[in-house]
């Protein structure tokens, strides 16, 4: 690999890569995300290579271990191009038949196809499967097409075009474009990205940092993992563009150590980008220099808080500080720092490539673009779902998610993770965007969407989240440290049959104190699961307290009465 010295050289490289590839040659893309690897995807790739040798078909077909396709429920999934035949629940024992029948003779194997739940019909193509058909996969789409460990694959699908375009623009113009696009931070709070970049650019000082938050701490959410694992270069490209716009020369990716594959892939991607001169000194001959380092997290939910994350990057305990001075002024090592989440960075190349006008046409008035959700829990189609902002919960849960398994009834959906709230059936037609979710006492968060059926006890869920947050509270400020403990005591009591008449009132008072007095958003948003479940499922609390009964049958009271 020689360093590319100009945008022209990158174009020439792209043309050379594309020319070498025959679009009509069969290519099997096999999902190799963490989910599918847990089903044995790596063994499937190896089995294919062996089988092709055995059947003398080597070279007739390309095998690509791709990023996550998103349809985790049906893993291991694979798509056979160019016809886009979609096989699901593939196991090693199926490989000889797929090789001889589908690759060799072009026959479709019926039993490997996806069956539509409502019509009972078999579906041949990936894009006709309802799970995919109702999505708009702008950010996530390339995941299933490319091998994340190959920069050539990314370049072949138009990778780093946005970077060459951006390097020809004035930094202020890029910031304007991002502001005009209406992009808001995908990490949770939904702060306008362009404004954040502008404040960091305008902040005093020559040394500025650009940071990517890949410390996905929300349990039940894994879209950031899948992006870093499945398309790491899209995140890097966004970061390089952001750094150029802000005037930063050093960047960090702060990533969860619990995601070993993501750590590996982002590391490989950085090395490849450096080798091609897309990172490092004088990027593509533009005179702009930028480098990125990886730092692993230690497994602390509070490090989603910007000041705590930066403390951790400095090698200190991940405790937040009060933010009367913004991190865009004084962040990492006291220097202006711009922190964005993985998905936010991956949106940037799209905006630069297609323009702010195009981007701002997608979504709702104040929430633009698409959002990736991790649809999990009591749902038929567990997986990653990318939809335009403003898509209703009903469409996500029922049309894409395929509804609730075992013929059970839908009860609630929880968005925003431990900081979010529970949304009942009456609000299923809610268009999902930043503001609508806030209005009903929940929040976007990073995009976790946990579906709960009638067998889920809402008081138990509130207790679960409160216990989680109590464990993750850093302990620096009293309201969060002690308040969460007291709330958990009360919830333990209610779920164990020791609930008292005024417990609900007490929970509300403690919640109000946490909201007002906590140092950071972990504490301030912690009451959301409790308060939203009281608001929408008060009858369940009352059944636990007054009748000593758990309507869902989850809580076991034993002999503990009164």
């Amino acid at each position: 690999m020689a360093k590319l010295k100009s945008p022209g050289e990158l174009e020439a490289l792209r043309n050379a890569i594309v020319k070498k590839r025959d679009p009509d040659k069969p290519c099997i893309t096999i999902c190799n995300g963490t989910g599918c690897q847990a089903y044995g995807a790596k063994r499937i790739v190896a089995a294919f290579q062996e089988e092709l040798k055995k059947q003398n078909m080597e070279g007739k077909v390309d095998i690509r271990a791709s990023g996550c396709h998103g349809f985790c429920e049906r893993g291991t999934v694979m798509v056979i191009k160019p016809k886009d035949i979609f096989y699901q629940r593939v196991r090693v024992k199926d490989i000889p038949e797929i090789t001889s029948e589908t690759i060799g003779k072009g026959n479709i194997i019926e039993r490997m196809l996806y069956t539509d739940r409502s019509t009972n019909q078999k579906i041949n193509c990936e894009y006709d499967v309802p799970f995919y058909k109702h999505q708009k996969r702008l950010v996530f789409g390339n995941n299933g097409l490319i091998d994340p460990t190959s920069i050539e694959d990314y370049i072949a699908v138009g990778g780093y075009v946005a970077l060459t375009k951006a390097l020809k623009m004035a930094p202020e113009k890029i910031i304007d474009e991002v502001k005009k696009s209406g992009l808001r931070g995908r990490g949770g709070a939904g702060f306008p990205t362009g404004n954040k970049w502008e404040s960091t650019r305008n902040a005093h000082g020559d040394v500025k940092y650009v940071i990517c938050n890949a410390d996905e701490g929300d349990p039940g959410a894994f879209m950031d993992r899948s992006l870093v694992e499945g398309n790491p270069h899209s995140v890097l490209e966004g970061m390089i563009i952001g750094a150029y716009a802000i005037g930063s020369h050093e960047g960090y990716v702060y990533i969860r150590n619990e995601y070993p594959l993501a750590v590996k892939h982002i590391k490989t991607a950085i090395e490849q980008a450096e080798a091609y001169g897309l990172l490092g000194e004088n990027i593509l001959g533009s005179g702009f220099s930028f480098s990125i380092k990886i730092k692993r997290g230690g497994g602390a939910f509070v490090c989603g808080e910007s000041t705590a994350l930066m403390a951790s990057l400095e090698g200190k305990v991940g405790e937040p500080r009060a933010k009367y001075i913004h991190t865009s002024e004084q962040g990492l090592w006291g220097k202006p720092s711009n922190l964005n989440n993985v998905e936010t960075w991956a949106n940037v190349p799209l905006i630069i490539n297609n323009g702010a006008d195009w981007y701002s046409k997608i979504g709702t008035k104040n929430s633009k673009g698409t959002k990736i959700f991790a649809l999990v829990g009591n749902i038929n189609n567990t997986g990653l779902v990318e939809v335009p902002m403003g898509t209703t919960l009903r469409k996500i849960v029922f049309d894409i998610g395929g509804g609730i398994p075992k013929g059970r009834k839908f009860k609630a959906v929880q968005t925003g993770g431990p900081s979010g709230g529970m949304i009942p059936e009456s609000l299923l037609d809610l268009p999902v965007d930043f503001d609508e979710l806030m209005k009903v006492g929940s929040m976007m968060g990073s995009g976790g969407m946990i579906v709960m059926d009638e067998k889920t006890c809402m008081v138990d869920m509130a207790r679960y989240y409160t216990t989680f947050l109590e464990g993750e509270s850093c302990g620096k400020c009293l309201p969060c440290r002690e308040g969460l403990r007291q709330m958990r005591y009360i919830l333990d009591g209610i779920t164990e049959g020791r609930g008292k008449e005024d417990d609900i009132q007490l929970l509300a008072e403690l919640s109000a104190t946490l909201v007002d007095a906590s140092l950071c958003q972990l504490g301030a948003s912690a009451p959301n699961p409790v308060m939203s479940s009281i608001k929408h499922f008060r009858d369940e609390y009352e059944a636990h307290i007054k009748d000593k009964k758990c309507p869902a049958g989850v809580c076991k009271f034993g002999d503990a009465k009164g």
Binding site: G35, A38, K295, G299, G377, T382, Y464
Partner: protein, 153 residues
């Protein structure tokens, strides 16, 4: 100067060029090499990075990833993330505790297993999820526990 006990620490420190901001990475790599973070290693890390032992200790105890006590040959991680919780991971954990005769965070007396919980491994479609060593065991139920444990010696 105290005798350096752990050559692993020296190698890790070299890799990160004694950069004190790399403390968390240093702890990760040291733990990966030794299996846990012995007291002496924390001291050697502090000396190598030029920071007080108290700071190394505070970081090592603040983050969930680090263990200051020896761990068993096979680390069992039970995912307690929301998706796994909704599908009954607490029952799987209870069964593991019962069969192994230890609680979350403890080792079996023969140091064969260590039982720990994690918040989410991001393989939510397969919940409840139990990871032993590097092996993912998805769709776990209390009934499957003894069968799965038999695979490890």
């Amino acid at each position: 100067m105290a005798v350096k006990k752990y050559k692993e620490v020296r190698q890790v420190l070299e890799k990160y060029q004694n950069d004190k901001s790399a403390l968390i990475d240093v702890l990760h790599d040291t733990q990966a090499a030794i299996g846990y973070l012995p007291k002496e290693a924390l001291g050697e890390i502090a000396a190598g990075l030029g920071i007080p032992v108290s700071r190394v200790y505070s970081v090592a105890t603040f983050f969930k990833a680090f263990s200051l006590t020896a761990r068993g040959r096979h680390l069992i991680n039970v995912c307690m993330g929301t998706a796994c919780h909704v599908r009954g991971s607490d029952k799987v954990l209870a069964q593991l505790e019962k069969e192994l005769g230890i609680k979350d965070g403890e080792n079996t007396t023969d140091l064969k297993f260590t039982l720990e919980t994690v918040n989410c491994v991001g393989a939510c479609a397969l919940g409840p999820m139990v990871i032993i060593g590097g092996d993912y065991h998805g769709e776990m139920t209390p009934d499957k526990v003894s069968e799965v444990l038999k695979n490890y010696s």
